[in-house]
């Protein structure tokens, strides 16, 4: 990162570069003779006043007006002047922007992110619109409104982000290292996630998240999901499939724990269905008991490995330890419990299948017999009662 004095030197060089004349015809004070008037407007009603102090303290404060407004050669100048070309100096940024989702300069002028042209500050300055803690708010000007969704088919992501663990770290804890929009999407060269080069393209997500979560990404790459993605099997989940992209929750929180199993279940359908038959799921589904085992409590979260792998927590050799994390006193017999037993499958779980069959037959036969018995009895009793009442000359009630 450039130091303040370094930046000023660069700006001076810039001024020399763009200075079309050896000496500018006019100084800033000449321009401010008119433009210092706070109420000054152009023909279409936009303010064309410049605050001398604000401009002076801004990153461009050392420049002359004519450095940017290069088409103005003298006074009086034409009513209509050419738009300022930031790209004259900021070539790298302009190149990045060119192929990005924000390439349309009319829709997305530099000022839409960097703020008022006459008071632009370095991104390390808390006053800057692109200071890390200000970025989400800056982006939310567009990406926090429902209008965006209608115009471009993009969800209003700001509310999701700001309530996420990243959003909280940024807005509540004020952490400069907390992920802001730019950390994942980049700044000038933002690409649609459908673009294979995009930082947020599915294939690149583990690397993007790994910019901060390096240890987790290393674990992930060891696991079956990471290996599948690396092999181009794009059905496998990346970080954002489980954690979501914007509304990322603290994984130990009840809310994440309760919503996490259906996420795994969206691919592992059969395993999810058998999990739902068990006590773990029944308890967990009702809330309040968020400690009950979710998929990743047993299988691991990032470095999921097949049960046949000796490093897997659900490998036969590791079960006593894995189950014992919750079930104190778990022994070799206890871990023979099948957390995914399927009582409907005779081949896989014959004992369970026949027990369930017996219980169902018992239930069905008992109820069928007694329902018939009771209905017949009701009809006959009522018939007798009416007959008796008639004989007594009373009414049928």
């Amino acid at each position: 990162m450039m130091t303040d004095s370094g930046m000023r030197l660069a700006l001076l060089a810039c001024a020399l570069l763009v200075g079309t004349a050896p000496a500018l015809a006019q100084t800033n004070s000449d321009c401010l003779t008119c433009h210092a008037d706070a109420g000054m407007q152009n023909a279409s009603g936009h303010s064309i006043s410049v605050d001398e102090h604000k401009f002076g303290s801004s990153i461009h404060g050392v420049l002359q007006c004519g450095n940017c407004h290069a088409d103005i050669k003298g006074y009086p100048h034409p009513d209509k002047i050419a738009p300022v070309k930031c790209a004259t100096c900021h070539t790298e940024e302009a190149q990045g922007l060119a192929g990005s989702v924000h390439s349309n300069a009319a829709e997305h002028p530099c000022t839409s992110c960097h703020g008022d042209a006459h008071s632009i500050y370095p991104k390390t300055d808390p006053k800057s619109a692109v200071y890390p803690l200000n970025i989400p708010k800056t982006c939310s000007a567009c990406h926090g409104s429902e209008g965006m969704a209608k115009q471009h088919g993009l969800a209003s992501v700001y509310p999701l982000y700001i309530d996420s663990i990243h959003g909280f770290a940024l807005s509540k804890e004020g952490l400069l290292v907390a992920a802001n929009c730019m950390s994942c999407h980049g700044s000038h060269h933002i690409l649609s996630r459908k673009d294979p080069l995009s930082q947020t393209n599915k294939a690149n997500v583990p690397k993007t998240c790994g910019n901060c979560h390096a240890g987790i990404t290393a674990d992930y790459e060891l696991g079956v999901h990471g290996k599948a993605i690396a092999a181009g099997k794009m059905d496998a989940p990346v970080c954002s499939d489980c954690h979501t992209a914007h509304a990322i929750l603290q994984p130990t929180e009840a809310e994440f724990r309760t919503q996490s199993t259906p996420i795994c279940g969206s691919c592992h359908k059969e395993k999810f269905s058998t999990y739902r038959d068990t006590f773990h799921s029944q308890l967990g589904a009702l809330g309040g008991y968020v400690e009950t085992a979710r998929c990743w409590d047993c299988h691991g979260a990032h470095d999921v490995l097949p049960a046949s792998d000796p490093r897997s927590p659900v490998n036969q050799a590791n079960l006593v330890k894995t189950c014992g994390r919750c079930h104190a006193g778990a022994n070799a017999s206890f871990v023979q419990y099948q957390p995914h037993a399927n009582a409907r499958n005779r081949k896989l779980n014959p004992a369970l299948y026949f027990i369930r069959l017996f219980m169902n037959l018992l239930l069905a036969s008992t109820l069928t017999f007694f329902v018939i018995h009771t209905v017949l009895w009701l009809i006959r009793s009522r018939y007798d009662q009416i007959k008796r009442k008639k004989a007594e000359g009373g009414n049928n009630a």
């Binding site: 068990t278 009702l286 239930l363």
Partner: protein, 288 residues
């Protein structure tokens, strides 16, 4: 004339104001039934949300009472109380039948144990329902009452054992094979479902809602029934008591109005809770 009104009211209490009342259940038996149905409703109310944990009402109910932590606490509490009641009952049977050698506990007309007459009564009763024969004459406990008793007895052993096996799974794993830990949940939930469906539909109708007892058989609450009811429902027992000259010893006091009203409030509350749970169970079962 407020006095007259009250007399009329008392008359309607059992439909037979005058005449004698006979003791059918002892105070201890009525308390046992009260403990049984209270804990059963508690167990059903806390067990069903678990069995149908994916249903809308189960989640609403759970979040309403403070999550599954609260549900589990009450389920276990009710289970402990019911277990104690069950053990007291078993101890009572052993005391009376084996230690005191009291007659009529394990066999005979007053026993809960089924006999050949019960089989004949069942078929006779079915024939009568279809209009093919005379109504059987019942003794102290009719066959469906014995079935209720043994269904609950068997149910408590099965549901209780499987419940404790889940509660103390690592302990039970010392002498149960691993697959049994899977089986106990299936057994517990299916047997529990059977008990709930049976009690809230069959038992309610057979005992309380059928025309002879409608809207509620008060005898389990007050302990007594009118002579007419006694004769009508259990003619054999009545005749046997009369011939043995023991009828007088069974004469009880006519229940007080407050007793009847109190019993009605309790009884109707229990039946209402049961019927609501029945509807929820059926809706969840068929909605699965």
């Amino acid at each position: 004339m407020p006095d007259l009104d009250r007399v009329v009211d008392v008359k309607n209490v059992q439909g037979h104001a005058e005449g004698r009342f006979f003791q059918r259940f002892t105070r201890a038996q009525r308390y046992m039934h009260a403990v049984l149905f209270t804990t059963f409703l508690g167990l059903a109310g806390t067990g069903l949300p678990l069995r149908f944990s994916q249903s809308y009402w189960a989640r609403k109910f759970a979040s309403g009472v403070g999550g599954f932590g609260a549900i589990l606490f009450f389920h276990k509490l009710c289970a402990l109380v019911l277990t104690v009641a069950f053990l007291i009952h078993v101890k009572d049977i052993i005391q009376r039948g084996i230690v005191n050698r009291e007659k009529g506990i394990f066999w005979g007309s007053t026993s809960m144990v089924g006999n050949w007459k019960d089989v004949k009564d069942l078929f006779g009763h079915l024939r009568w329902m279809l209009g093919l024969g005379p109504k059987p004459q019942f003794e102290r406990y009719a066959y469906w009452e014995k079935f209720d008793y043994w269904a609950v007895f068997w149910g408590m052993i099965v549901i209780g054992f499987s419940g404790y096996a889940m509660w103390f799974a690592p302990f039970f794993a010392h002498f149960l094979p691993g697959w049994a830990l899977n089986a106990v949940l299936v057994i517990h939930s299916e047997e529990g479902l059977l008990a709930i469906l049976f009690i809230f539909s069959i038992h309610f109708v057979n005992t309380h809602l059928r025309p002879d007892s409608f809207p509620m058989d008060m005898v389990i609450f007050t302990g007594v029934e009118s002579e007419e009811e006694f004769k009508h429902k259990r003619p054999l027992e009545y005749a046997r008591m009369a011939s043995e000259g023991k009828l007088e010893s069974r004469i009880g006091e006519k229940p007080q109005t407050w007793q009847v009203n109190f019993s009605r409030v309790i009884g109707f509350t229990a039946i209402s809770i049961g019927l609501i749970l029945l509807v929820l169970t059926l809706s969840a079962y068929f909605g699965e």
